[in-house]
Amino acid sequence: LAGRLSTAIEAGLILTLALLAIFWIIPAQTDGDGNGLRAADLPTACAVIIALLVLADSVLRFVDSPAPSIERGQAGSSRVVSGAILVCILAAVAVQFLGVAATSAIMIAALMILLGERSVLRVVLTTVTTTLVIASALRWIG
């Protein structure tokens, strides 16, 4: 049931996005009639094709396959991945205030600790060395 539910949610989400793109986003964000193809034609065609392919895949999945089993220990790894994604998103925001080198330093240390690195020496050495390399590269390139 879990597998079928996630397939249905995935299909529903993509179909909603495709419909939004076809009826709202693409018409609002395109302008102009070209020769042969209008500016909106290819993006619209792509959105329609994606919707049809995902729909076909979901239908076949419902007909063909049994629900996949959930792997043991997956929740733990998902938490760490979510943490890493969060660190990257925060880094993408922080980079405009702190700059690339300082953000990299904080991010490396945070990720190493998140991944389970407990040797302070390793964390410090890796952070300092990588930050120095990045800062030198930025300076060298100008």
């Binding site: 193809l37 895949d57 076949l60 063909d64 997956q74 790894s77 990299s104 991010m107």
Partner: protein, 493 residues
């Protein structure tokens, strides 16, 4: 002839030699380090190539692409961990050889086979790309549209998982490629008022995000699932020498696998994994009574490694001749070439002949350096397998952020790259091919141009397609192939 001489002179200039050497060295290190793979390494390295000349830049990237394949054999042989799917076939006989005290011999076989396969693939590229490009110059936009459709179908169908999802990922790539100023009407399209998007979605944000950063998220997941780190096999009484007789014994396998690798590389989408498995299967099928495949047979290692490395240069043939990237490495090379004002495709041989010959020279140089660096660092590289992923992953993530920033000195690029990384990770989790997405994104503008020209030529009348039998046949074949692959994948599941 002048262009040929000038191109080879460019390839042998001190700066080009240095960058090719650095590429090969970096490629070996990346190949050996657990968790890093060829596409991720190339994606991270592209921003560095911005500041090099075109021949040095492409030579540097090709050095990485070639050597990472050869370096990947080290972990496959010594710790039975394939860094990439294409090294799985190497594990089958490489690891038993290491366990039997022949680890260094297996590494030497892998190295020599890789170099020979690579040289064969490079020679095939030099011999075939230009004649094919001359033919391609006579291909009109209608036929070009057909070629692109069939190539995309092939690439999507051969990706892992559902054919529908892979195809949807490819079309998604095309959709993202439509962002930016419309090539015909010069009006902004899907830019949401962001000036940074007027030139389109930055290629580097897509490649680094989709291939490198999202790959790190996947590696974190794998790391947490399999927390036991395998140890390298150490045997102090090793049979290290590769004797001439042994080399002669594996030579026919190397020859056959080189040809097979080139044939696989020519077809878009097949890639090194299929080449190495097909080559291993062929070697096993024609094995003699003394060959013990699966129990440490040197021919098994040679077959997998030769084909794996012959594919890389051969997959550039469709790129140079038609402008269509047949593999993820070729797709990433498009980015590097475009940055330097070189548009891959048949006209490249007329407009940038010197650069093309320079690239050929750099590729041959990379093959030679691969042999030297690989042979000298045979033992040293093996020790790199001990670097823990808790160090590698954060460093690569930081390099991704710095690389995305370097492209346009814009924080928008960094944010976009992180967004694409999250998208890539979600796509991986849900079985959508990131490689197909990327190839769709790169081919997108070319496809739109051909499609527009085709519609003008056909005057919007589909029945006029009958006047273009080759294009019609290609489109019918694309649809037929799609149906065939759907049927095959349903049978498999």
């Amino acid at each position: 002839m002048d262009a040929l001489m000038l191109g080879f002179t460019d390839a042998l200039s001190p700066s080009a030699v240095l960058f090719v050497f650095l590429g090969v060295l970096l490629g070996y290190v990346i190949g050996v380090l657990p968790g890093l793979n060829r596409p991720a390494a190339l994606a991270v390295a592209i921003p560095l190539s911005y500041y090099m000349g075109p021949v040095s830049a492409v030579g540097f990237l090709i050095g990485i692409a070639k050597a990472s394949g050869a370096g990947g054999a080290t972990t496959a042989i010594l710790i039975n961990v394939p860094g990439e799917p294409n090294a799985v076939a190497t594990c089958i006989d490489g690891y038993p050889m290491a366990r039997a005290g022949q680890g260094q011999k297996a590494l030497k076989i892998a190295l020599y086979s890789s170099v020979l396969g690579d040289i064969f693939g490079t020679v095939a590229l030099i011999a075939l790309a230009q004649p094919l490009a001359m033919l391609a110059l006579h291909v009109g936009p209608v036929e070009m549209t057909g070629i692109m459709l069939i190539s995309l179908t092939f690439i999507a169908a051969l990706a892992e998982g559902s054919v529908f999802k892979s195809m949807a990922a490819g079309v998604g790539g095309i959709l993202f490629a439509t962002v930016g100023t419309d090539i015909e009407t010069a009006t902004p399209r899907l830019t949401f008022g962001q000036i940074e998007l007027f030139d389109g979605v930055p290629l580097l944000a897509v490649t680094v995000g989709m291939l490198a950063l999202s790959e790190m998220f996947i590696q974190i997941e794998e790391l947490k699932k399999n927390s036991d780190q395998p140890q390298a096999v150490v045997n102090h009484e090793e049979d290290r020498r590769l004797r001439w007789g042994e080399f002669v014994r594996i030579a026919p396998t190397v020859g056959r696998s080189s040809v097979l690798g080139v044939l696989v590389g020519l077809l878009p989408g097949l890639g090194p994994t299929i080449a190495s498995f097909a080559s291993y299967a062929l070697a096993k099928k024609i094995a003699g009574p003394d060959d013990k495949f699966g129990e440490g047979e040197p021919k098994g290692v040679a077959a997998a490694e030769t084909a794996d490395n012959a594919v890389v240069p051969a997959s550039f043939i469709p790129l140079f001749a038609l402008g269509i990237p047949g593999s993820v490495s070729a797709a990433l090379l498009v980015g590097a070439l475009t940055i330097h004002g070189v548009v891959p495709g048949p006209r490249m041989f007329e407009t940038h002949a010197r650069v093309v010959y320079g690239i050929y020279g750099a590729m041959l140089l990379a093959s030679l350096l691969m042999l030297i660096v690989g042979r000298l660092g045979l033992v040293g590289f093996a020790s790199l397998t001990r670097v823990p992923p808790t160090i590698i992953i954060p460093v690569v993530v930081a390099l991704c952020i710095a690389g995305a920033y370097l492209e346009s000195r814009s924080l928008f690029s960094v944010q976009l790259m992180v967004a694409f990384a999250v998208l890539g990770y979600v796509m991986h989790k849900r079985g959508y091919s990131r490689v197909t997405f990327l190839i769709g994104f790169i081919v997108g503008p070319l496809l739109e141009l051909s499609l527009r020209q085709s519609i003008i030529l056909l005057k919007g009348d589909v029945s006029s397609l009958l006047k273009y039998p080759v294009a019609l046949a290609l489109i019918v074949a694309a649809v037929g192939l799609f149906c065939l692959f759907v049927r095959a994948s349903r049978k498999r599941s």
